[in-house]
């Protein structure tokens, strides 16, 4: 490179008036393209709109954006974690939480809110069903205009384990769950869940809600989507002194809840009910004394195949439970041992892993619209994808 420098310097001196654009043209013309070549017209092309692979490859991720400064205009963005390519997006209405992809990857369910005059007027709630290949709406299912409007959380909407029923958490502030039959594409009914929030699935015909006193409300559905049994557990954790975050992760029959102070509460469900397994601490006493604790919006992620739990950690006081993570601590769910610490180049508010055997670790950079992609094995930042939405907060991996 050094040998070339004098010549380049000389070149600049002898062609003082030639700007970069002209130089580029000269180089291109010299690059053996005949001057008579004419590019063909494209305006008659039959293909005018892209379509996507369906089902989505496992390394794609949905970045859900509530768009805090313009909440009437929520969005969900699809990004390929391998290439960093932005693949497309959905416009998803007011106070958006997140999309719910079907397990077969063919459809995307999106609970959406609209007002007849943008930010005023008559409110209409629908579940829009999109084709995953075309990202076009297939149909929409009207539901009661009651969906909870809150900081996004996966418990706000979810499918039963066989994808038959979509459940939507309502807060008006009376609490209930709306049920949509995905087979008939109809609203089935509303299940009252007084004092309890969310709809977290536990099987093909069951879910539970988290109650303010730290108990769970278990609900069983029949094949028409109506509640046939409801039961309330004892408190599953200490909701006063150390409440758990409202964004648990699930592996098969166990939900892993994370407490503000950094305890993991595994809670197993079965036909017989819920069993709280002994909680365990993320941090040692010494680390807790240094202020290490979890934080963020989507604070934990799980990779079921390797049975590993990923937690966003930072140092701060009790009221810092929403502060972004400066590191990811990784645990083996079987041994409950920390097996890895990933240093983060940028602080993250939300993390998720792809569900395949060679997973990617996705993270949303705090106070930005940047998606970071890490290799979870090496802990290496693979790429940062800029300009993904406005205020993205929640990741959904298909």
């Amino acid at each position: 490179m050094k040998a070339g420098m004098p010549a380049r310097g000389l070149g600049r001196r002898v062609r003082p008036g030639v700007g970069p654009a002209v130089l580029l043209a000269a180089v291109a013309v010299c690059a053996a393209v005949p001057a008579r070549a004419v590019l063909p017209a494209e305006t008659g092309a039959t293909k005018t709109v892209e379509t996507l692979a369906s089902p989505a490859p496992r390394h794609w991720v949905w970045v859900n954006d509530v768009v805090f400064p313009h909440m009437a205009d929520g969005t969900a963005h699809l990004v390929d974690g391998d290439s960093g390519r932005y693949l497309g997006m959905l416009s998803t209405g007011a106070s958006f939480s997140h999309v719910v992809p079907s397990r077969d990857g063919k459809l995307i369910y999106s609970p959406e809110i609209y007002f007849s005059r943008g930010t005023r007027g008559t409110r209409t709630d629908v579940v829009t069903i999109y084709d995953a290949a075309t990202l076009k709406p297939v149909t929409e299912v009207p539901v009661p205009p009651k969906r909870a409007s809150s900081l996004p959380a996966l418990g706000v909407a979810g499918l039963t384990d066989d994808d038959r029923f979509l459940m939507i958490y309502n807060f008006t502030p009376a609490q209930s769950v709306s049920v949509v039959d995905t087979a008939s594409r109809q609203f089935v009914g509303e299940i009252e869940t007084p004092g309890c929030a969310f709809a977290l699935p536990t099987g093909p015909r069951s879910f539970f809600a988290m109650c303010a006193d730290a108990s769970f409300l278990a609900v069983e559905l029949d094949d028409s989507g109506r509640a046939v049994r409801q039961s309330r557990t004892e408190p599953m954790f200490d909701g006063t002194r150390d409440p758990v975050y409202e964004r648990p992760v699930r592996v098969a029959d166990t939900y892993y809840f994370l407490s503000f102070d950094g305890k993991v509460h595994p809670i197993r469900h079965s036909a017989a009910g819920f069993t709280a397994v002994d909680p365990w601490s993320l941090a040692s006493a010494a680390e807790r004394a240094q202020g290490w604790r979890p934080g963020g919006v989507q604070q934990i992620a799980v990779h079921a195949g390797s049975h590993r739990l990923y937690v966003l950690m930072h140092r701060g006081g009790r009221e810092s439970h929403k502060d972004p993570g400066r590191a990811i601590w990784v645990y083996d769910l079987g041994t409950r041992r920390r097996v890895q610490q990933i240093a983060l180049l940028h602080p993250l508010t939300s993390i998720a892993l792809s569900t395949d055997d060679q997973p990617l670790l996705f993270g949303l950079v705090a106070e930005s619209n940047v998606l970071d992609v890490y290799a979870p094995g090496s802990g290496k930042l693979l790429r940062s994808i800029k300009d993904v939405g406005t205020t993205p907060l929640l990741l959904v991996t298909p």
Binding site: F68, P69, H70, M71, A72, A94, S95, F115, S116, R117, G118, T119, R120, G121, T122, R123, P145, K146, A148, S149, S150, L151, A153, G155, F171, T172, P173, A174, Q175, P194, G195, C196, A197, F198, A209, M210, C211, A212, D213, A214, G239, T240, P243, V244, Y245, E246, E319, S320, H321, K322
Partner: protein, 177 residues
């Protein structure tokens, strides 16, 4: 035009509706008291009844800048500060409506050394103000414990303010016990 009628209708009917809304709230309140030992008014309320409040006193008794995130009343706030949006710490900007229900926090007033219960009534009906975003989380609870959760859009309750979020106030409910 229907929506205009609807808003007017709802405003005039709001008083009539309050009794039933109150029973919904006390249902939640009971749970909250059990869960988090909240004061008797677990979900603080906005505009209602004849005014009995005076201005919040001078600077010494109520020190700090209501347009700053570190103002003492903001200890559990999450949103755009109405003081930057055409309102004040206790009033909504023109053209918005104050939510009748809300979340609360307990904040320490360095002006008189006392703790106060603060009601963070949201102002509703226009798009987000976009100014002076402030998120502080002293005593903030998860979404399944609503009364002290700053993560709900409190404009979205079934009241006449069932409409988008614009900004948040920080109104004094009273001294904490």
């Amino acid at each position: 035009m229907k929506w205009l009628d609807r808003i007017t209708e709802q405003s005039t009917r709001a008083i009539a509706r309050r009794s039933s809304r109150r029973s919904v709230l006390s249902g939640i309140g009971t749970l909250l008291v059990g869960a988090a030992a909240l004061p008797l008014l677990p979900v603080a309320r906005g505009a209602e009844g004849p005014g009995h409040a005076q201005p919040a006193g001078g600077r010494a008794a109520d020190p700090g800048d209501p347009a700053a995130c570190d103002y003492w009343r903001h200890c559990a706030i999450d949103g755009f500060l109405c003081s930057c949006c055409g309102g004040t710490q206790s009033t909504c900007p023109p053209g918005t409506e104050m939510s009748a229900i809300t979340w609360i926090g307990t904040c320490h007033n360095p002006g008189d050394g006392k703790d106060y219960v603060i009601s963070y009534n949201d102002c509703c009906g226009k798009t987000g103000c976009g100014r002076c975003f402030c998120n502080r989380n002293e005593g903030d609870t998860p979404l399944y414990q609503p009364g002290r959760s700053n993560d709900y859009n409190w404009c979205s309750g079934s009241s006449h303010a069932n409409i988008p979020y614009h900004c948040s106030t920080a109104r004094i409910v009273g001294a904490a016990e």
